[in-house]
């Protein structure tokens, strides 16, 4: 009896060891597919975000002409104030224009030469 039980256990263990475990393999493959899908989603999202960020940064070519125009207009206003140094209104215009020129420069992306 004991021998019979031992034989059955051995057979069962052997059967278990040699079995291909199909449910576990399928789970593994499914998990791999899911991971791959998630990775693809992440790559696509990152690509989209990069494109959005690229689009969000205005080009120096687009921005700098306006920054330069504002700087020159500020200088023109301040030249008037210098020529009429007793005119408080012109002096106030000059101060305002200088502030606006500084603000314009700060609006340009830091990589642009007009931002410095």
């Amino acid at each position: 009896m004991r021998l019979l039980c031992l034989s059955i256990c051995c057979l069962l263990l052997a059967a278990c060891a040699s079995a291909p475990h199909p449910p576990t393999s399928r789970r593994h493959q499914a998990a791999e597919r899911e991971s791959a899908a998630r990775l693809e989603e992440l790559i696509a999202a990152e690509k989209e975000l990069s494109q959005q960020q690229l689009g969000a940064v205005p080009s120096c070519e687009r921005v700098c002409p306006f920054v330069e125009n504002i700087r020159r207009l500020s200088n023109m206003i301040c030249e008037l104030a210098q020529r009429h140094s007793d005119d408080e209104i012109l002096a106030a215009n000059c101060r305002d224009a200088e502030l606006r020129a500084t603000r314009a420069r700060k609006r340009a992306p830091s990589s642009c030469s007009c931002a410095r």
């Binding site: 969000a56 306006f66 008037l80 609006r107």
Partner: protein
């Protein structure tokens, strides 16, 4: 102050491509603009003035889009004002600039250029506050255009 030549060329090309019917006036305007450039480059101020004057006085087709007509004429008025400023005739420069502004004030460089030209004329006529006012108007426009250019989509 602006890449005027390029802008007007693009405006003219855009107009010509979009509306073939009023093409004759636009072609005449382009030719007058080019001839004025050549005259200015060779120092023929009177000829340049004449070409530009003919352009602003030429009757435009009713089919030309109003805004296209405005920018073409405002550029010509601006250049006329510049010619007069160069010729030390600020009163005439101011008059040309005002004719250009009378076509309509928009938030673009054509209008800004006219304010700058009128400001230069006023400064030459010892109207410093008037000049500053015009320069500030041009600055307002450039500031608004800069805000558009830096706007995150």
């Amino acid at each position: 102050m602006t890449r005027r030549g390029l802008v007007i060329a693009l405006a003219l090309a855009g107009c010509a491509a979009r509306s073939p019917a009023p093409g004759a006036w636009i072609a005449t305007a382009a030719e007058a603009s080019r001839a004025a450039d050549e005259a200015l480059a060779s120092g023929q101020i009177d000829l340049a003035r004449e070409r530009l004057r003919r352009l602003v006085e030429s009757p435009s087709s009713r089919l030309v889009a109003a805004n296209d007509r405005r920018v073409i004429l405002q550029d010509a008025y601006f250049r006329l004002a510049e010619v007069e400023l160069g010729a030390h005739a600020p009163a005439r420069a101011q008059a040309w600039a005002e004719s250009g502004l009378a076509l309509g004030v928009q938030r673009d460089l054509f209008t800004a250029n006219l304010y700058i030209a009128r400001g230069g004329a006023r400064a030459a006529l010892d109207d410093a506050r008037g000049a500053a006012e015009d320069y500030r108007a041009a600055l307002d426009i450039n500031e608004a255009l800069l805000a558009d250019a830096t706007e995150v989509p």
